[in-house]
C-alpha cells in the first residue's frame, strides 16, 4: 500500500521528478499517480509531451519535450498539475486556484505545502483565467520549489 492512500499526500518517489536542468527550463509536474479514467491533459499539450497508454493509465510527461507553457494546469480536472521553473535563487510555481478572492499580480500571499502548512510568503507574478479556474504563478525561495502547492490570499 502507498502512504498516500492513507494520507492523501504524495511524496517525491510517487511521481516523475525532472532534473535540475529541466527545472531551469520550466516543466509541468503531473501529480496524478492513480489509474483513473481521465485524459484532457494529453489533448491540451501543444507539443505532445504528455502521453497516456490508455485512458486509465497515469499520464507521463516527457520533460525534454515539455516547454512549461502551463496550458495543462488549468485544464486538469483534478487540479493536479503544477509548472515549476527555477530562476536563480528563486522558483516560479504555477498552480491552479479556485477560491475567492483572487490575488493580483504584485500581491504577497501565503505559501502552503501539500499539508496546508504555512511555509513562507510568495509574490504573485502572473494571474491567468482559464474558464473558472485561475492559473496563478508565484515566486518563492528555490529550495521550496517541490513543496509549495497552494496559496492563501
Amino acid at each position: 500500500m502507498h502512504q498516500y492512500e492513507k494520507t492523501g499526500i504524495l511524496c517525491s518517489k510517487d511521481f516523475q521528478i525532472p532534473t535540475e536542468e529541466q527545472l531551469k527550463k520550466g516543466v509541468a509536474i503531473l501529480e496524478c499517480v492513480q489509474e483513473i479514467p481521465c485524459n484532457p491533459c494529453v489533448a491540451s499539450c501543444p507539443v505532445h509531451a504528455i502521453s497516456m497508454k490508455d485512458i486509465n493509465a497515469p499520464p507521463m510527461n516527457d520533460f525534454e519535450k515539455c516547454i512549461g507553457c502551463t496550458k495543462c494546469v488549468g485544464i486538469c480536472p483534478g487540479l493536479a498539475i503544477f509548472v515549476i521553473k527555477k530562476v536563480g535563487k528563486k522558483a516560479w510555481v504555477t498552480l491552479p486556484y479556485e477560491f475567492v478572492p483572487v490575488p493580483k499580480v504584485g500581491d504577497t500571499v501565503q505559501a502552503l505545502d501539500r499539508t496546508g502548512s504555512l511555509r513562507g510568503t510568495a509574490l504573485v507574478k502572473k494571474v491567468i483565467k482559464q474558464g473558472k479556474t485561475m492559473v496563478i504563478t508565484i515566486e518563492i525561495e528555490s529550495t521550496f520549489a517541490m513543496d509549495i502547492r497552494n496559496i492563501r490570499v
Binding site: 500500500m1 498516500y4 492512500e5 492513507k6 494520507t7 492523501g8 499526500i9 504524495l10 501529480e31 496524478c32 499517480v33 492513480q34 489509474e35 483513473i36 479514467p37 481521465c38 485524459n39 484532457p40 494529453v42 489533448a43 490508455d54 485512458i55 486509465n56 485544464i75 486538469c76 480536472p77 483534478g78 487540479l79 493536479a80 479556485e98 477560491f99 475567492v100 478572492p101 483572487v102 502552503l112 505545502d113 501539500r114 499539508t115 496546508g116 502548512s117 474558464g131 473558472k132 479556474t133 485561475m134 502547492r149 497552494n150
Partner: protein, 486 residues
C-alpha cells in the same frame, strides 16, 4: 446565510418572495424551494419525529427521505425540499401524520398522452436517454420531480473526469446547461415534451402498450396524466445512505448531496463548521466545495483504512489544511435541538471502536457521504426482476447490455441501475435511449450502440471501475439465469 461571493457560481440576488411560516412573515428568493428559503432564514427544524417528538430537518434535500414534510396552504405532507417557493404561501409544521385536507387535488378530467418513449428522471442518464431516443425519431415525454432538469448535475461545480469526447474537463453545471439546451431545442421542434415538477405515481394495467400515471403539481389544482408509451426508461437516480449513531436525526445532519444542493443550487450556507463522514469521491469533492463556499471543514473521517476517493481530490483538500483521518468514524452527535458537536472514534483493523480513543469536535453540521442506494421503487412496482447486488449499492433491476429489464420495453439507466459516476450514467442513458429507438423501428443504427458500449467499457476499465464492473457482470449473468428459468 446566503452565499454572495463564490469562485465558480455567480449568485445574484433574485426577486424577493414573501411567505408565511408559523404565522410569521419570511422572505425567500425566486428559485428557492420552501426548505431552502427557510434555511436561508435560519430555520432548520422542519418537522418532528413521529415517535419521540424530537426536531428534524431534511436529510437528502432531493425529495427522497421524507424528513421535510410540512403543511403548505393547508395541504399536508408536501416535500418542502423540492416544492418551489411561491409568493404569499402559508407554511406550517404539521401535526404528526397530517390531516387529510378538505380540498380538491386534481383538475378534471385526466389527460391522456400517447408517446413512443417515457423517460422518468431528467438527470444525466435521463437527459441523455431522452435526447438519444428523440434524435433517432421517437416521440419522447421526459418527466422530473424537480423545478428544473439536470438532476444532480446542477450542483456539480467541479470539472468532470473522463475522456475528452465525453466532455471531460467540463464542469457538471455546464454539462447540465448544454444537455438542457439540447432538450429545449428538441422540445421546440416538437420531438420531446418536458414535464417538470411532476411525479410518475405508478404503473397500471393496459391492454397493449405500457401505461403510467403522472401527476404534475400546479399552484392550485394538480393535473393527472394517463401516459401510454411503447417503452419507458427509468432513470430515477439514487438516495443517500444514512448511518446509525445517536443524534443522526438532529437538524444539521445532512447527506453530502443535500449540503451540495443547499450551497451550489440555492446559494445557502448549510452551516459554519462541518464534519465530513466518508472519504470517497463524494465526501472529498463536497468538502472542497464547502471550502470554496467559504465554509470551514473541520476534518474528514473515514472508517476504512484507506481513502476511497481519487488521490487528486484528497490532495486538494490536504493542501488547504483539511485533515483526513482514516480508520475513524462518527460515534455520536451532540446537541439538543440542533447539532452542536460530534464525537469521533478510532477503529481497529476489524473496524471496531478502540476504547478511550474518542475525541470531541465542535461543529454545527455533519455531512454523511457514506454511499448511495439505487431508487428502484417504481421498477419494483412494475414488477421487473430485481436482485440485491452489494457492488451496485442495493437492489437493482436486472438488465442486459441494452439496459432492458426483464419486462420488454422497460429500460433502466444511471444510478438506478447500479451506483456509478455521472460520466457512465450519461452513456448508459444513451444506450437505453438508442436501444429503445431501435426496438421501436425508428432507427437501425446498431453500430452506434456498439460504440457506446465500448466507451462504457473503457471508462470502467481501471481499478476504480472494479465495483461497477463486478456489479454489471453479476446483473447480466443473473438476468440470463432468470430468463432461462422462465
Amino acid at each position: 446565510m446566503r452565499i454572495r461571493s463564490h469562485p465558480i457560481i455567480d449568485f445574484k440576488k433574485r426577486k424577493e418572495l414573501p411567505f408565511y411560516f408559523e404565522k410569521k412573515k419570511f422572505v425567500g428568493e425566486e428559485g428557492d424551494t420552501i426548505a431552502s428559503a427557510l434555511h436561508a432564514a435560519g430555520v432548520k427544524t422542519l418537522t418532528k419525529s413521529l415517535k419521540y417528538d424530537s426536531p428534524r430537518g431534511f436529510f437528502c434535500g432531493i425529495g427522497k427521505c421524507s424528513s421535510c414534510l410540512m403543511r403548505v396552504n393547508g395541504v399536508p405532507n408536501v416535500r418542502t425540499c423540492i416544492a418551489p417557493l411561491k409568493e404569499g404561501i402559508t407554511v406550517e409544521m404539521q401535526d404528526k401524520l397530517g390531516l387529510l385536507p378538505d380540498a380538491e387535488f386534481f383538475d378534471k378530467p385526466k389527460k391522456t398522452l400517447q408517446v413512443n418513449v417515457l423517460v422518468v428522471g431528467a438527470g444525466p442518464a435521463g437527459l441523455c436517454a431522452a435526447l438519444e431516443s428523440a434524435q433517432h425519431g421517437a416521440s419522447v415525454l421526459l418527466v422530473d420531480e424537480n423545478q428544473c432538469v439536470g438532476g444532480q448535475l446542477i450542483k456539480q461545480t467541479h470539472k468532470f473526469f473522463g475522456s475528452k469526447q465525453e466532455r471531460a474537463g467540463t464542469r457538471g453545471i455546464d454539462i447540465a446547461k448544454e444537455l438542457e439546451n439540447n432538450v429545449l431545442q428538441l422540445q421546440k421542434e416538437g420531438k420531446i415534451q418536458v414535464m417538470t415538477d411532476a411525479t410518475v405515481i405508478g404503473y397500471y394495467e393496459s391492454d397493449k402498450n405500457h401505461r403510467f400515471g403522472v401527476v404534475q403539481r400546479c399552484e392550485y389544482l394538480n393535473s393527472l396524466y394517463d401516459v401510454r408509451c411503447d417503452a419507458a426508461i427509468l432513470a430515477c437516480g439514487a438516495m443517500e445512505n444514512m448511518l446509525l449513531f445517536p443524534g443522526n436525526d438532529l437538524p444539521g445532519v445532512y447527506g453530502a448531496g443535500a449540503v451540495q444542493t443547499l450551497m451550489n443550487v440555492y446559494g445557502i450556507r448549510p452551516g459554519d463548521r462541518v464534519l465530513m463522514v466518508g472519504a470517497g469521491n463524494v465526501g472529498l469533492i463536497v468538502s472542497y466545495q464547502l471550502l470554496q463556499a467559504g465554509i470551514a471543514v473541520d476534518r474528514v473521517v473515514e472508517a476504512a483504512p484507506v481513502i476511497g476517493g481519487y488521490n487528486v481530490h484528497a490532495a486538494k483538500l490536504r493542501r488547504c489544511g483539511v485533515p483526513i483521518m482514516t480508520s475513524h468514524s462518527i460515534k455520536e452527535v451532540c446537541g439538543d435541538e440542533k447539532v452542536e458537536g460530534a464525537v469521533i472514534v478510532r477503529l481497529d483493523e476489524n473496524w471496531k471502536p478502540i476504547k478511550d480513543s474518542e475525541e470531541y469536535i465542535k461543529c454545527d453540521t455533519i455531512c454523511l457521504a457514506v454511499g448511495l442506494t439505487p431508487s428502484t421503487r417504481l421498477l419494483s412496482q412494475i414488477g421487473v426482476d430485481s436482485e440485491y447486488i452489494p457492488e451496485a449499492g442495493g437492489y437493482v433491476a436486472l438488465h442486459d447490455d441494452s439496459m432492458q429489464t426483464s419486462i420488454s420495453g422497460i429500460y433502466v439507466a444511471g444510478d438506478a441501475s447500479g451506483i456509478e459516476e455521472a460520466s457512465t450514467a450519461m452513456i448508459e442513458g444513451k444506450i437505453a435511449g438508442l436501444a429503445a429507438a431501435i426496438d421501436l423501428g425508428c432507427t437501425k443504427n446498431k453500430k452506434l450502440l456498439t460504440q457506446y458500449r465500448e466507451e462504457l467499457a473503457h471508462l470502467r476499465a481501471g481499478p476504480f471501475g472494479e465495483k461497477p464492473r463486478i456489479a454489471k457482470k453479476k446483473i447480466a449473468k443473473m438476468k440470463e439465469t432468470h430468463h432461462a428459468s422462465i
